[in-house]
């Protein structure tokens, strides 16, 4: 099954498929967000605040950001592996990117749930 393809038994497929799945999730979210904004068309601070604090918005935006992080992680990882030949520099850059992505996700959680 598809889930099996995301395990370490399929090292190549796992990475490729994750990038495709996250891309689909992001595309769907983007369309839904536009449609939702058109339908709700929030006007003023209170309306925007209501819109942004709904559970559906929070959870879908969080999911979107997780997907964005995974997608970006794979992409940047491939670029670093192709272009940076110095192992130390590559590891350093990779750790920086990973750290940045984690910070973004934590930051987003703080914004979304006001933790």
């Amino acid at each position: 099954m598809i889930i099996e393809l995301l395990t370490s038994k399929y090292p190549g497929m796992r990475i490729w498929l994750s990038q495709r799945i996250t891309a689909v999730v992001m595309a769907v979210y983007s369309v839904l967000l536009i449609v939702a904004l058109l339908i709700v068309s929030p006007d003023g601070y209170a309306a925007w605040s209501d819109f942004a604090s709904s559970f559906l918005f929070r959870i879908s935006t969080f999911l979107f950001f997780i997907c964005l992080s995974v997608h970006a992680w794979i992409g940047v990882r491939d670029v670093l592996r192709d272009y940076i030949f110095n192992q130390t520099l590559r590891t350093y850059l990779q750790v920086m990117v990973d750290l940045l992505l984690v910070i973004y996700v934590v930051w987003l959680s703080i914004i979304l749930w006001g933790l």
Partner: protein
């Protein structure tokens, strides 16, 4: 006609250099290879590979005005002068326009480019329906010139690990062959993170193929097939749904 040709003889030269030539074309000189052979008459130290001179053997693949192609089927009339001729990029140069294609052939060999069928031999040949035969159109025509693989950035960055468009096209050619019974094994053989998945659909392969084939479509089809196979795993069957589409139909999708 003016040409600028990449010259390098590792026994004599320290560094490669570009040499300018001017040749007088004669009647019947229509293709770049004709002009290169005029150069060869002028300066017989200039080396290149060629054989059939009609786009069938794939020997004279080179980089022509920045784009890989076969000199023998590249029309002089379509080229801007001076024509800059270099060896295929990304492969070691043996001399002038002659490159060492060992790596290219190793990748080709790694996909087992031959029919695997353990059934007992039939009395005559193994038959194929016209529909099954049609699935090989757009695949069997490859002449292994190497123009696609050497124009692929994924191959430039990982020449030892990424199999490259030419070999992947060949892999697919045997995967869809109705006479071959090793589909699952062939798909497993491409599971490594580099061998197949380093293709990022850059499409240079499609752009340069002198036979107008689409290695990229074959690569996409292999990836789809691997997903299909996983759904049917356990039944020990290839992914029939895709295999039943003819290649031409697949490309149109």
């Amino acid at each position: 006609m003016k040409l600028s040709i990449y010259r390098f003889d590792p026994d004599v030269d320290e560094k490669p250099y570009m040499q300018d030539y001017e040749v007088e074309l004669q009647e019947g000189d229509n293709m770049l290879l004709d002009a290169l052979l005029r150069v060869k008459h002028q300066d017989d130290s200039m080396s290149l590979r060629k054989s059939c001179r009609e786009g069938v053997c794939g020997s004279d693949a080179m980089n022509i005005n920045g784009k890989n192609g076969l000199a023998c089927i590249t029309r002089i009339a379509d080229l801007t002068e001076p024509v800059i001729v270099r060896p295929l990029p990304g492969l070691p140069v043996i001399r002038d326009l002659v490159v060492d294609m060992t790596q290219f052939y190793e990748h080709f060999n790694s996909v087992d480019p031959y029919l695997k069928n353990d059934d007992s031999l039939p009395e005559t040949e193994r038959l194929q329906s016209p529909e099954d035969r049609a699935k090989l159109d757009g695949l069997y025509e490859c002449v292994l010139c190497g123009a696609c693989t050497t124009s692929c950035p994924s191959f430039w960055w990982n020449p030892d690990k990424f199999v490259g468009p030419a070999a992947l096209l060949q892999a697919y050619r045997f995967i869809v062959d109705s006479r071959d019974h090793a589909e699952a094994e062939r798909l497993e053989n491409l599971e490594d993170p580099y061998r197949l998945y380093r293709c990022h659909n850059i499409m240079n392969c499609v752009e340069v193929c002198p036979k107008k084939l689409s290695p990229n479509a074959a690569i996409v089809a292999i990836k789809d097939l691997k997903i299909e196979l996983s759904k049917e795993r356990g039944e020990d069957k290839p992914a029939k749904k895709y295999l039943e589409l003819s290649w031409v139909e697949y490309e149109k999708r």
